[in-house]
């Protein structure tokens, strides 16, 4: 039988949002359990080399490292006082609501499974079941992808994946890089590569700097972002990194591995401008990032109210205390709207405090960061014409190897207009990743050229019966315990 850990407040995720939530809840007097898939705290933003081999880390390549160190010290102190039970290396694969019965206000159950089923890993703990009165979800997100011909070749990575590789391992995944997509996040990726000794042949941004002009007020509200921008500009100048706007990768070249990329200039709608093609040769890593997709399966499993954010992502609706439409269920970080680590920390602090029954006062800083995030999303949209970049044979679903042609055929001849119907006709989104990588693209293809996916289509693709792959044994155990 799976051991049960109970607490006042359960937190999922040890990234900026979850770490802050756990600390705030514990400091407000709650008994807290923090479950995280990672082996050590930090999430995506503060991912770092294993502390077992590198106990002293100076935060090189990181932003906001002092904030991390502060939260981490408070986290360790609360663990020392027995206020936080930390369960690393465990993925929550199912979350359920315990409905209130007389005299009891209900709560939440989390089923977990080890992230890696490898006996040699010292940190590995067995599955645990977590039961808590309140739940804070801070599961973050992952890079959003738009398929182009050749993007399934080895050597093509998510831009964030390159960043994670560098932060976790302290080395580079290749030598000669092209980074492409949209958004300010491409800058820290390229800067870290250059600082770690890699050659960045180009950063290709599909948008144009003038897209920021209508949003200067929002940008001015967060001056630290301008400083960060200046810092990247200096790194780019020092390492001679070309930054090309209104430019995209139209094809990744290579047979069994990336060897180069074809690029082209695009207009404001993302349509390729003929005659602007160019080839970069001798490339061994291409990093693509089109913003981020919040990891919505756990929030969606509770049937919470959702909305489309300014970047077209499906996110959870929360009140000023970060509470979702389900009482007792709080959301923080990317799942309430992609807005970066600073905002994730502020939301986490509010969510943790509120979940512990404390009072939360409205945050001016959070509001400024939200306005900045919105401006950023509007200035760096997914180009409406991106579907034109696909060749009929381009793989869209990497797991089940479903092509663009299969998806558009299913739309045109079978009337499959949303991600879920497309999935049942073509198997796109049915493989190992359960549509995490292709879900957005498939939803766009269902909507048709130039159209953006609806809340319904994105929800259909992000609803996953299991939030992580789980062994038969754990499923069987669930059957027994529920009988």
């Amino acid at each position: 039988m799976t051991p049960i850990v109970s607490a006042d407040v359960a937190v999922v995720g040890a990234g900026p949002a979850g770490l802050a939530a756990a600390v705030a809840a514990a400091e407000s007097g709650a008994a807290v359990v923090l479950v995280d898939a990672g082996a050590q705290p930090g999430g995506q933003f503060w991912r770092h080399r294993p502390e077992t081999v590198a106990p002293e880390q100076d935060g090189r390549g990181h932003h906001g490292w002092p904030t991390y160190l502060d939260l981490r010290a408070r986290f360790d102190a609360a663990r020392g006082r027995g206020r936080i039970t930390y369960l690393p290396g465990l993925q929550v694969w199912m979350a359920q609501q315990i409905h209130p019965v007389q005299g009891d206000d209900g709560g939440f159950t989390l089923r977990t499974t080890p992230t890696a089923a490898v006996a040699a890993l010292e940190a590995s703990v067995g599955s645990q079941t977590v039961v808590a009165r309140r739940l804070v979800l801070g599961p973050g997100g992952y890079d959003r992808q738009l398929p182009v011909p050749g993007w399934d070749l080895p050597g093509v990575m998510a831009a964030g994946g390159i960043q994670a590789f560098i932060k976790a391992n302290g080395i580079l995944p290749g030598q000669r890089f092209v980074i492409a997509g949209t958004g300010p996040f491409l800058l820290p990726v390229a800067a870290n590569i250059a600082e770690a000794g890699g050659k960045v042949l180009a950063v290709l941004e599909s948008s144009s700097p003038t897209a920021w002009l209508p949003h200067l007020r929002a940008a001015a509200g967060v001056p630290e972002k301008a400083l960060e921008g200046a810092e990247y500009a200096a790194v780019f100048a020092r390492h001679r990194v070309p930054y090309r706007t209104r430019t995209i990768v139209t094809e990744v070249l290579g047979t069994d591995h990336v060897s180069g990329v074809k690029t082209a200039k695009v207009d404001a709608g993302g349509r390729v401008r003929p005659g602007t093609e160019r080839v970069y040769e001798d490339v061994d890593v291409v990093g693509f990032g089109w913003g981020f997709t919040p990891q919505m399966e756990l929030p969606l499993s509770f049937g919470i109210q959702t909305r489309l954010d300014a970047d077209g992502s499906l996110v959870g609706v929360v009140d000023e205390r970060q509470q979702s439409s389900v009482p007792g269920l709080f959301l923080a970080g990317e799942v309430t709207g992609v807005g970066g680590a600073t905002l994730a920390v502020l939301e986490g602090l509010a969510a943790g405090t509120a979940a512990a029954g404390g009072t939360v006062s409205p945050e001016k800083t959070a509001a400024r960061h939200r306005r900045f995030a919105e401006a950023m999303h509007l200035a760096h949209p997914v180009p409406p014409a991106w579907q034109d970049w696909l060749a009929p044979e381009t793989i869209v679903c990497r797991c089940e190897e479903v092509t663009a042609r299969q998806l558009t055929d299913a739309r045109e001849s079978l009337g499959a207009r949303d991600a879920r119907t497309l999935k049942s006709f073509t198997r796109a989104g049915m493989g190992w990743c359960q549509g995490r990588v292709c879900g957005f693209a498939a939803a766009c293809l269902g909507a048709g050229p130039g159209s953006a996916p609806t809340v319904e289509s994105l929800s259909g693709s992000a609803k996953r019966p299991l939030a992580a792959p789980v062994g038969i044994g754990e499923l069987a155990a669930l059957e027994t315990s529920d009988n």
């Binding site: 082996a39 080895p154 998510a158 994946g161 810092e231 190897e401 990588v437």
Partner: protein, 103 residues
Amino acid sequence: MSTHSSGETWSVNTQGAVNVSFDGRPLVAVPGQNIGAALVSNGITAWRSTRKNARPRGLFCGIGVCFDCLVTVDGEANQRACLVEVQEGMEIEGSCADRGGRA
């Protein structure tokens, strides 16, 4: 705030060595690295082939989301190379049709 002011490249302390095997062949990895990093830094950038088209795959998302990087570790199939830290003596197996890394 960080760091990007020094101009020198990173010098990560990568002392020590972890001996692992990949498809039966010995590889030396750096302590603390994940399997994906150990393979890539040994020049192996693809270690799985897809079911339908037998296309090569290696790291993609880097954070455990895409499952492109699956390997067998000490006999446990379907482990994500980007998430599992190398340990001394670990036996890693890919599932490439041609068992090769990058040509």
